[in-house]
């Protein structure tokens, strides 16, 4: 007898009410050069919802004090809010413990922290650090510096014409000499979503430690560090609708426990004598000095805002935008999209025949359309495609198809003017 199976209700995400979402973002409602702003530069940084601005203001107006240091009421409130922000981040990444969440300035500092503290501790001459050809400079340079200090060797997994990592080459480069695999989850220049689950599993087989750069992923998709199981996962607050100046390093607790500290100073010690200092417990061991309290609290407000809407809803809206933008831009004469990976987020990099991205950027700005032009801090990606730069429209939850239309009209204007 076959058991009666009740099919699981396939969760249809609630559609995003984009106008209601836009209402939450004051900066979106302005004219630029007399035209309504179409902000399509979200991979560089996202705008901030009112709840983030309110959280920052509330903190400075009511709770401002140093943390972990005072017995007075304001210090207790500031400490409670700061530690509550850490728990928000912990839930956001589904980390096991808040001891695994370290606040930094940005993703760049998080990667440098690992390259210094873990790298100087673990890398030996002849060891290898493996990255991919689509990394942001912030996941290249710290490893070059670590290799220069330790005698380790930097290896780079190539990408194909679509902007996907060539997995056969990647697997070949992954050997028992590989001590660190450092990979971007979602490429800022190409929109590629890397198969990090498989890459992490492959790294495990050779015993490599893994760092994932989640700077671009955390505002497009849900991230579960227990399911993914990297050793380190980093992101930057300002791309997930939070303030600038706050970043996150997630680290596996046992590894952080064993790893020597990065910066020395106040807060990161439990006792100091001139002969010797004892390191503080996690996560404080890696947070020397007065932290960025206000922006950690602002980041938590941003994260709760995103969680309130939900990644199913955000993802469905952004897929629609990506599909629409890809179709509309492909139809623009002379335009070529750079980055056509199998799995892609709402980032559309493009070049136009005979027109330099820098000129495109200037002209569309006069039409109120904000896009990024240049090498996107990924010069090796530009070299791979044999171009000096691209123009890039990167779409977030508050963007609309009208704004994509505005970009297409502005590109017409570029051709009228320069074509």
């Amino acid at each position: 007898m076959t058991p009666h199976v009740v099919p699981a209700a396939s969760p249809v995400p609630a559609p995003l009410d984009v106008l209601a979402v836009r209402e939450q973002f004051p900066a979106l409602h302005q004219l630029v050069h007399g035209k309504p702003l179409a902000y399509l530069d979200n991979a560089a940084t996202t705008q901030k919802p009112q709840v983030v601005l309110d959280a920052l203001r509330h903190y400075y107006e009511r709770d401002n004090a140093n943390v972990h240091r005072g017995v007075h009421t304001l210090s207790e409130r500031a400490t409670a809010s700061y530690e509550s922000a850490r728990r928000s981040v912990q839930r956001f990444l589904n980390a096991r413990s808040e001891r695994e969440i370290i606040f930094t300035r940005n993703a760049t500092e998080s990667i440098n922290l690992v390259a210094r503290a873990w790298g100087d501790w673990q890398l030996k001459p002849g060891d290898e650090v493996l990255i991919t050809a689509m990394e942001h400079h912030s996941n290249i340079v710290p490893w070059q510096m670590a290799c220069a200090r330790t005698g380790a060797i930097l290896k780079v997994a190539p990408i194909d014409d679509r902007g996907d990592v060539i997995l056969e080459e990647f697997e070949k480069l992954l050997t028992p000499r590989t001590k660190m695999l450092a990979v971007v989850h979602l490429s800022n220049a190409l929109g590629t979503i890397n198969p990090v689950e498989d890459m992490i599993a492959a790294a495990r087989r050779v015993g490599a430690t893994v760092l994932i750069d989640g700077s671009q992923s955390v505002y497009h998709m849900a991230v579960d560090v227990q399911a993914l199981d990297p050793d380190f996962y980093v992101f930057t607050g300002h791309k997930v609708y939070g303030p600038t100046g706050i970043g996150v390093l997630y680290g596996r607790e046992s590894l952080l426990q064993a790893c020597p500290p990065f910066l020395g100073g106040g807060d990161m010690i439990s006792s100091v004598t001139f002969e010797k200092s004892e390191w503080n417990e996690l996560p404080y061991k890696f947070e020397a000095g007065t932290p960025n309290i206000a922006d950690a609290i602002g980041l938590a407000a941003a994260i709760e805002f995103v969680r309130g809407i939900g990644f199913e809803t955000i993802g469905a809206h952004e897929s629609t935008l990506l599909e629409y933008a890809t179709a509309q831009l492909s139809a623009v004469p002379g335009l070529t999209i750079i980055g056509t990976a199998r799995r892609k987020a709402s980032v559309v990099s493009f070049v136009m025949h005979d027109l330099h991205p820098h000129d495109i950027g200037t002209i569309v700005d006069r039409e109120g359309v904000a896009i990024r032009t240049g090498h996107h801090c990924a010069q090796p990606v530009m070299d791979r495609f044999g171009i000096p730069a691209t123009a890039r429209a990167s779409l977030a939850m508050y963007n609309t198809t009208d704004e994509i239309d505005a970009l297409v009209v502005a590109l017409d204007r570029v051709r009228q003017l320069l074509g």
């Binding site: 010069q379 000096p388 320069l418």
Partner: protein, 150 residues
């Protein structure tokens, strides 16, 4: 849109489409590379200096309309002139692109180069216009480091 038309004047578009003195210079006596990391513009400038005179000049590379036309206009402007005259023109050009927008530029001092005065309304583009000139200065002083616009 007036400011865009000021920036992309017909002369500039013409130099962008048909850059003058573009290509290698086989008998160059000195050269320099310029790089604007902000937009990825790269250019190589080659000079032939005989005595104190620039008798040959050419450039190669990739860049936006502003940097390419500025390089093209510059090569025309300094060819046949002495090194001192070229240096003087560098100063005048620099003066022009850094003159505040609400003040008139000294068109007589820079001649044809005055068409680039429109970049002043686009602060992010001033470096595009000056790249060629910084590269010229580097080539004249025989600096081997790539010229930067920073």
């Amino acid at each position: 849109m007036q400011d865009l038309n000021d920036l992309y004047q017909e002369v500039i578009l013409d130099h962008n489409r048909r850059p003058r003195n573009y290509g290698p210079l086989p008998d160059a006596t000195q050269s320099a590379k310029g790089h604007n990391p902000l937009c990825g513009d790269k250019l190589t400038l080659s000079l032939k200096v005989e005595g104190d005179r620039i008798t040959g000049i050419s450039f190669e590379g990739s860049g936006c309309a502003i940097s390419k036309s500025s390089a093209s206009l510059m090569t025309d402007a300094v060819k046949g002139h002495t090194v001192d005259e070229a240096t003087e023109l560098f100063d005048k050009f620099h003066q022009m692109v850094t003159t505040p927008i609400d003040q008139p530029v000294d068109e007589e001092a820079v001649g044809k180069l005055a068409v680039l005065a429109g970049v002043r309304e686009f602060p992010a583009r001033v470096k595009c216009a000056s790249l060629a000139w910084h590269t010229l200065k580097a080539a004249l002083t025989k600096t081997t480091e790539p010229a930067k616009t920073e």
